[in-house]
Subunit: 199 residues, 2 copies
């Protein structure tokens, strides 16, 4: 698979952290998805938003469009996702997200996803093959020790080497074992967004 | 007027930065107001939201309720507002906001407000005396040189001494001449919120 190798990773590298807001599981409706632009692990420089359908199939497309339409697009180098599932089982295909945006993608999770449980949940949803393909496209779950003496996190990557992704994830974990763009995206998304029922 | 004197100002003091989101001036409707909780000038620890009427009279009440209902209320020490006017001419009475929340209030602006222009705008709005009283309650416009060699900012204060307010405004201006809680509240509010027409 094609990927970018970073010649050097600047401490001020622009990273977008993406997370979803509140929603009611299994209820038809839309959840907000928030993106925060960080310079490295310290400074917030921008914010953007889109919405995706609960248990829908539009997360990859919607997140890609949000990023490409943003005034920050030209400065961004990396997209960090809080895992690959948004608003329930609306799964981001990180290979496709990389192809659409040409930006390296790193999906980070605190907990190891339970693959058997996910497979079972997919059984009840339309287009389960497409969803399963997105899960397979996320590739191997890689462990990263972001901070000494703290819990490791897990990452899946597209369009970036493992070694570059590791460096960026470690460098941006300035406040906790989670990269700062994702810690802040989570706080903002859960504090500010609202669930909208489908009309 | 009653005020709190800080025995010491800790670098990790919890400050709430408050700003309004997008709205269409003079159009009946609601604008989002966003609050971001900062530890000093560095770390975002929480986010909250309310909405206020464009050119309405509910900003003081709505912002106070948002803060008091928040899980961060007990940790907060200072409220920083991006000026005293929200969603057009919905003016925050900072004395009343202090009385309701018992938190020190510092309203900060980059530009000196044009009092004659404000007075003229108020002529066309209901309850202009009440609005004017809120403006008077904001008190003297104090100049603060937050960063050496950069433009000063202006502040109005309630429930805090000038010297404590100056220290906090300077200490939190870590990234620009504007305190970081307000710089980030502005980015988040303008990037994420939407105007809602009145129904």
């Amino acid at each position: 698979m094609a990927y970018k190798k970073f010649r050097s990773i600047k401490p001020e590298i622009r990273v977008l952290g993406v997370d979803d807001g509140v929603f009611i599981p299994h209820n038809k409706g839309y959840a907000d998805v928030v993106g925060v632009v960080f310079r490295g692990g310290y400074w917030l420089d921008g914010a953007m938003r889109t919405e995706v359908e609960v248990d829908g199939l539009d997360a990859t497309e919607k997140i890609a469009s949000m990023i490409i339409a943003s005034p920050h697009y030209q400065q961004l180098r990396v997209i960090m996702l809080n895992g690959i599932t948004f608003a329930g089982f609306n799964i981001v295909d990180i290979k496709e997200l990389y192809n659409k945006t040409k930006l390296s993608v790193i999906a980070v999770t605190r907990d190891k996803p339970d693959m058997e449980e996910i497979k079972k949940a997919l059984e009840n949803l339309p287009e389960k093959e497409r969803r399963w393909r997105a899960i397979l496209n996320a590739g191997e779950l890689l462990t990263v020790q972001t901070r000494e003496g703290e819990e490791p996190v897990y990452m899946q990557i597209a369009g970036i080497t493992r070694s570059d992704a590791e460096k960026i994830v470690k460098m941006t974990s300035t406040r906790s074992n989670i990269p700062e763009p994702l810690r802040v995206a989570h706080i903002v998304a859960s504090g500010l967004t609202r669930f909208r029922e489908k009309h």
